[in-house]
């Protein structure tokens, strides 16, 4: 167990490789109750959130969700999150655990009169059920409920209590994120375990997300990096009506050209597992960056990492060296993601 954003979290239940493999090949469950749940309600809630988030909320039909990013005025990342349109004028946001208070304060500061913003993070237990067999478990548990399509959400009353299910995740596999009242959380977690869903900890969560190049806020995303530098331009609608906080900075950066980019690095041979903060060197030995994330990929059995590199080193195929305790291991800039489902 390790402390994580004020919670005590398991790094692994059995073994990171076993848990990782279960999610890629079968089904695993992550307790993500530490994550934050916000609701925004009122007429015009969509338009207000559109002015605060990079992606275009207008694209969401009721029951749909999208990945989006909240920026500071300089275009740096405050948090990345998923927003779901539960109903017209009612939106559900899932934010990172470490950012709950900061996100809430930032949103509160921008909140116009007439809209309600609620932090319900303590009310909800959350678990991510991920893997090719996740849908089968859902069918077994809720034969009368339809699993929402990718990025969709559904909510209903089950045994007298509200459940929410969102077909999203952080692993690159099919699956869903399941929300119950916090009181029922351990009961549901046990039900999934009893149905032979493998419990998975933070270690597998990190290796799975890194294989598919999903960024981790606080490591790969930060207030001093923009989403364009992080390669998340797809989720930033610079042309939407009225713009959004940070939009000007991004537009300017896009015009000027990116000076650094978050790239995917893969070892060219065997080596000690790359880890966050290891220094990255060009072929002349000069330090050019440090890794923001790194792991020995359990699926590929190769060292994989992310790092912000100066634009001139960020081209696919560029070779660099990663320093591990004084030894250098060669890595190559490769196309994202590292892992694609077969």
């Amino acid at each position: 167990m390790v402390p994580f954003a004020g919670w005590n979290m398991p790094v692994q239940y059995s073994s990171i490789i076993d848990e990782h493999t279960a999610v890629r090949e079968d089904v695993g469950i992550f307790d993500i109750s530490h994550m934050g749940q916000f609701f925004v309600e009122g007429e015009g809630a969509e338009a207000w959130l559109n002015s605060l988030l990079t992606n275009n909320v207008d694209k969401l039909a009721v029951g749909e969700g999208q990945y989006t990013i909240m920026l500071n005025d300089q275009g740096g990342v405050i948090d990345d999150l998923i927003i779901y349109r539960e109903a017209v004028g009612r939106l559900f946001l899932v934010v990172n655990a470490s950012m709950i208070e900061e996100d809430f304060a930032w949103m509160k500061k921008h909140l116009p009169e007439g809209l309600i913003l609620r932090n319900e993070s303590d009310c909800w237990a959350a678990m991510a059920v991920q893997g090719p067999n996740a849908a089968g478990i859902f069918k077994e548990f809720f034969p009368n409920q339809e699993l929402p399509p990718r990025n969709g959400m559904a909510t209903w009353i089950h045994e007298g209590a509200q459940l929410m299910v969102c077909s999203t995740g952080y692993t690159g596999e099919d699956g869903y994120e399941f929300f119950s009242s916090s009181m029922d959380g351990s009961m549901w977690f046990q039900r999934f375990i009893d149905a032979d869903v493998k419990p998975c900890g933070l270690g597998a969560r990190d290796s799975l997300r890194l294989e598919v190049c999903y960024p981790l806020n606080g490591s790969d995303l930060s207030p001093t990096h923009t989403p364009l530098e992080a390669g998340l331009g797809f989720f930033c609608d610079l042309n939407k009506d009225g713009g959004f906080v940070g939009c000007e900075a991004l537009t300017e950066q896009k015009t000027d050209g990116l000076k650094r980019r978050l790239v995917a690095l893969k070892y060219t041979g065997r080596g000690a597992p790359p880890r966050a903060h290891y220094s990255v060197h060009d072929k002349d030995g000069e330090q050019i960056s440090e890794l923001s994330s790194g792991v020995l990929s359990p699926s590929l059995r190769e060292g994989i990492a992310l790092a912000y590199l100066p634009a001139e080193h960020a081209k696919i195929g560029t070779l660099v060296d990663i320093d591990v305790r004084g030894r250098r291991f060669e890595a190559k800039v490769v196309k994202k993601p590292f892992y694609k489902r077969p």
Binding site: I16, H20, S207, A272, V295, L296, P298
Partner: protein, 125 residues
């Protein structure tokens, strides 16, 4: 938990096998179970002379890198090259094929001063 009687142990969960003036060192069954999934072992250089307690090797699982401290003073004479191809031997055979390095001892008595199996069992409960 497997704790062979013929070995000596350290509180850092290493085992030591004495043969003449050569000591073979590895990590215990308890240690490999705690680490899980050993994916890389960095071996010490041959010929390096070490004081007891020097970090000389690194055992890495997916989750973390753990230093291995040499429990007795001496000169490194061999690292287990098989671990370069298959580091998981540390998990599957911690007291056998998963040995990590051999050291030529300055003083054989330093091995005798380490914990015996009964004391180590007491330590890991």
């Amino acid at each position: 938990m497997n704790v062979p009687d013929n070995l000596r142990y350290t509180s850092d969960h290493e085992w030591v096998l004495l043969d003449g003036d050569i000591a073979t060192v590895g990590i215990t069954d308890h240690a490999q179970e705690e680490l899980t999934d050993v994916v890389f072992v960095e071996l010490p250089e041959n010929g390096r002379t070490c004081d007891a307690g020097d970090p000389v090797a690194v055992v890495e699982s997916v989750k973390a890198a753990s230093d291995i401290y040499i429990p007795v003073a001496g000169e490194i004479v061999e690292g287990n090259a098989d671990l370069e191809a298959d580091p998981s031997l540390v998990n599957t055979d911690p007291y056998g094929a998963g040995w990590i390095f051999k050291v030529k001892l300055n003083d054989i008595a330093t091995v005798e001063a380490l914990m015996d199996a009964a004391a180590y069992k007491g330590l890991i409960g």
